[in-house]
């Protein structure tokens, strides 16, 4: 998915869930910033008062290209970025988390068992089975747990909205990126060259470069079965991120072709996002099987936005042509009131949070600091969830189960007249300030670990 859904879609979902425009703005910005928090926007620990080492949540195409000659991100870093932030694993039955829909969700492997390439051969061995488990699927145990974790642990934290936005990105991607994995794996992510556009009748082959007007994709190669070309949906180019397309392709892992109906899946995940956001806001347990209602006229309007077709090949290299077209459709729909009184979000600027760091004295108050804190929280959560299910984050390395994070106390305010029973002999006195004897109508309290102090 691109900015059209991650920014505008998330903003509208947050507004439907009851978030104020300024809160929805932060949530939406964080959702899109997952695709923009790259190495060049990371500030090292110690600079500008940053007291931890930020991690990237995305790699540029250029960085990935360098990996092919060994000087880009390591395989371990690829996993740290693409597994938790873009291809949330879901193709395994969880023992550690509630997993009521595993039989419906889990895909069976019906692909090849062996293959021989130019220099290497490949077997469907333990490593290959692990890679298949990392396949991203919607409605996975982790996708539910990460929302409920916000409710249980991060309500009221300074980075709550940033973590919500970041996880809305992850949640949305489970729809677009279903059946692909955030690890370079030939047998999961490769597919036959012929892909069909089913939105036209009769169905037509999707054109690939160098055909004029063709889509860009990564090439197939059997030199290395774990080549970077087999990371995520690179072999399918941008098709999984086009909201309008219904396409048929034949992934290597399946003995039969697969149909992906993006507008249907995108609309469904939009409703899941509204539900998740509403559950977080109202501190209700999230369950993607019980979707919150959204007015039918708005659902119809969003369905119409998603189905606006554009030409193939517009996003090649520049990655902006088709995205700008789709963002314009969201903006027009908001402007015309088709989505209700949600208001227009600010223009998204990918450097806004990064640049604000240079102009502040209190780094911990910046969106940049809070987003990057949230990124580490999310990475460690996914590592913890996988580790508790016995799934290594990197093949051949020990299973990682990061310790539960220490969540700080949260300062809140309560009505002075609504306090619980006081210990005998004590009275409660809250003032408006340090140098006044005026009583305050509210009292500061802290909320922590289920207690109020």
């Amino acid at each position: 998915m691109y900015k059209d859904f991650h920014y505008y879609g998330t903003y509208v979902a947050a507004r439907y869930a009851g978030y104020a425009p300024n809160e929805a703005q932060i949530i939406a910005h964080a959702a899109q910033y997952v695709d923009d928090s790259i190495h060049s926007r990371l500030i090292n620990k110690g600079e500008h008062g940053i007291d931890f080492q930020p991690i990237p949540t995305c790699h540029t195409t250029g960085e990935l290209c360098w990996t092919t000659i060994g000087s880009g991100p390591s395989i371990s870093e690829l996993h740290q970025v693409w597994v938790p932030f873009h291809f949330l694993p879901g193709n395994y039955r969880s023992q550690a988390l509630p997993d009521p829909n595993s039989s419906m969700r889990i895909r069976n492997y019906t692909g090849p068992q062996h293959d021989s390439g130019i220099f290497t051969s490949w077997n469907y061995d333990d490593r290959a089975k692990w890679e298949f488990k990392l396949q991203c699927l919607p409605d996975s145990p982790i996708s539910t747990a990460m929302i409920n974790e916000i409710i249980d642990k991060y309500k009221g934290q300074p980075h709550e909205l940033h973590l919500i936005g970041l996880r809305m990105h992850v949640l949305a991607d489970t729809a677009a990126h279903a059946y692909y994995a955030g690890t370079p794996a030939w047998h999961v992510n490769d597919a036959g060259a012929k892909v069909y556009d089913l939105t036209v009748n009769p169905k037509q082959e999707v054109p690939w470069l160098p055909t004029p007007g063709g889509e860009q994709s990564t090439p197939a190669t059997t030199i290395y079965y774990d080549s970077i070309f087999y990371l995520g949906h690179g072999r399918m180019g941008s098709l999984p991120d086009y909201p309008w397309i219904k396409y048929e392709y034949h992934p290597k892992w399946s003995s039969t072709p697969i149909v992906k109906d993006n507008p249907v899946e995108y609309l469904k995940v939009f409703r899941v996002m509204v539900t998740a956001l509403k559950c977080i806001k109202e501190q209700k347990k999230f369950d993607s099987a019980n979707l919150e209602p959204v007015e039918q006229k708005y659902i119809s309007a969003i369905d119409n936005i998603l189905r606006q077709r554009h030409a193939f090949g517009l996003d090649n290299f520049s990655m902006t042509g088709a995205t700008d077209f789709r963002c314009g459709i969201w903006e027009k729909a908001i402007e015309d009131g088709l989505l209700g009184p949600v208001g227009m979000p600010e223009e998204y600027k990918e450097d806004a949070w990064y640049n604000s760091v240079k102009q502040t004295q209190s780094i911990t108050q910046t969106d940049y600091y809070k987003f990057n804190k949230a990124a580490i929280i999310h990475l460690e959560s996914v590592q913890r969830y996988l580790g508790k299910d016995g799934i290594p984050f990197d093949w051949g390395k020990p299973i990682i189960i990061p310790p539960e994070p220490e969540t700080p106390p949260v300062v809140a305010s309560e009505d002075s007249n609504m306090h619980p029973m006081l210990p005998e002999g004590l009275k409660m006195t809250c003032m408006k300030g340090p140098d006044t004897l005026d009583y305050s109508a509210t009292c500061p309290v802290i909320k922590w670990q289920g207690n109020t102090y």
């Binding site: 911990t364 700080p408 300062v411 500061p444 289920g450 102090y453």
Partner: protein, 66 residues
């Protein structure tokens, strides 16, 4: 000043008596030092570590600098 901890049912689970400040008007949290500061009249303050807020040990000595 006495800091009282209530559970979600409104029952008292612990209390700490601290000398040094009265008449609370503000609370601040230092995430780096892992402390909570209770601000009172004339900006006198009481500082408690997060660990202390979790323990059952009654501590009447001001032993933190915030």
């Amino acid at each position: 000043m006495t800091i009282v901890a209530y559970n979600s049912a409104g029952n008292i689970v612990h209390q700490w008596y601290k000398e040094g400040a009265r008449y609370i008007w503000q609370i601040t949290v230092d995430e780096i030092a892992k402390t909570v500061t209770f601000w009172g009249q004339s900006n006198n303050k009481i500082c408690m570590s997060w660990n202390e807020l979790l323990t059952n040990e009654i501590n009447t000595v001001l032993n933190m600098r915030c």
